[in-house]
Amino acid sequence: MKLRQSAWWALGLVIFALFPVVVTNPFYTTIGIFTVIYMGCATSWNMFSGYSGYVSLGTAIFYGCGAYTMALVSIHGHIPGGAEQFWVVPLGGLVAMAIAVPLGAVALRVRRHTFVVITIAFFFVFQLAAINANFTGGPAGLSLELIPWQGDAYNTPFYYVALAILVFSVVLSALVRRSRFGLQLLAIRDDEDRALGLGVKVKAVKLTGYTMSAFVVGMAGALYAMFLGQIYPQFVFDPVFDVTIALMAFLGGFGTLLGPLVGGLILESSQQWLTANYSNGSLYLILFGALFLIVVLFMPQGIVVKVKEVWSKRTSTGSDATQAPLATLGSESL
């Protein structure tokens, strides 16, 4: 059972690793890069918000900070456009973490809706600051030096770095789920005060989760800035980013390991494809809205949990009497 599961994960990784080998058209590899970046961000968002129940809608802060770190360090550090810039990617993650500590220390004092609202407020503070500050280049943004890579191969290094971030994010999320720390996050989601009364240091645990999640998103933002070579404050601090990440996790399965991957794969690839193929750039927003309704109404726990439910019903028709009720959120394997 355990072995079969690992085999599926390995198969998935191989498929993703072979993608740019099989598909060389830059139109599709660009879609691939964005899809993998978003899958990583959704997984890392879910590692905190999905496990702890603290739904953050200010994750774009870390994406933007990562992007600006890449741009500013590349420009002021006179790093020539090219592979050397990849070293700035982890730095983007660290800067995002450093920013997450004070933000989390304030925002995590409140719960539920108040927390959501505070994270949104923080987000707009950062967006406005980026638009108005001098060192960020204001509304005109920042341009990075051109990377002199030619033709179809331009995308390939970006794809593999994005994939490395994704794998890191999934492994981290899986390790957290298996650790005592992860169990404490789940306990906080179910009943924070009770957890506190059982010796869980909820403040430290929440802040740690929040900060860890910022690291991955910061790296993703840095990679994004390097890939596009040009950043604008309204695109790296984008409220749609926050909503999309959360929607991916909810669609796939909030609080599960596989859920944000499935949600990210479906949503980001279809969004990129729709935007590229239809001149009306916001068609995807209408479709996403409809999809969101369907998910909320018919499978509020997400695709992954729903499929697992249907599957286990079908494979155990012989002995439904002994069928144990499915542990839904945070169940062991998925």
Partner: protein, 258 residues
Amino acid sequence: MSALLEAKGISRAFGGLRALNGCSLHVERGSITGLIGPNGSGKTTLFNVITGYVKPEAGTVSFDGKDITGARPNAVFALGVGRTFQLTRIFSRISVVENMLVATQREESWLRGLTRSKSSKTELDAAMEWLDFVGLARLASLPAGSLSYGQRKLLELAYVLVADPDVILLDEPAGGVNLTLINEIGEKIRTLNKSGKTFLIVEHNMEFVMNLCDTVTVMHQGCDLVSGRPEEVRNNPLVLDAYLGGGDDEVVEELSHG
């Protein structure tokens, strides 16, 4: 006799309501102490003050000679004061055994939690042992939310016990459960008490309290009214008055006919 847990002159108001007004409580080591009183007399608030959920405006709480007034709930628990809630609180979306594991690390640093797995062999064994003690071992892998109300009460008791606290505060352990289970819970408490655990129990079921407790403290309007052996308390006119004043006729009948 030494007091394991002691509250002195505790006061606390919520808005205009004086929930506690100079209340004192004395729990001896190795005893089963009952805490009774009409609804709204401040029993649960006193529990919340002792366990750190509510900060008192005046008064001190000490445990085993240490001042724990105003300490946070996790710190109080780490010292060895465990509690259950009146409205049973379990972690409903994780499994029964995972519920147990949340409580196993009384004094562990949070950093340690990052690097270690969910449970060690000894912790898992201890968790299963206590689940077995309350009769829930066969349900260990089910999501805790699928348990019945009575089973949840038992689970809450079990995961408080797994951390091996010295004193256990039970808020209405017999509330809303059937007679067989009430007797069963009473038996468990007695067994644990014999092995050295101290109990402080809030309960409205007079028969349960009178049979089980060594000492009973009666609260009334945020103060401790009387303390003593069950039979003394039962015949104290002040106690009857308190309940009559509260209009709790059934209890008065139980008390006076006992």
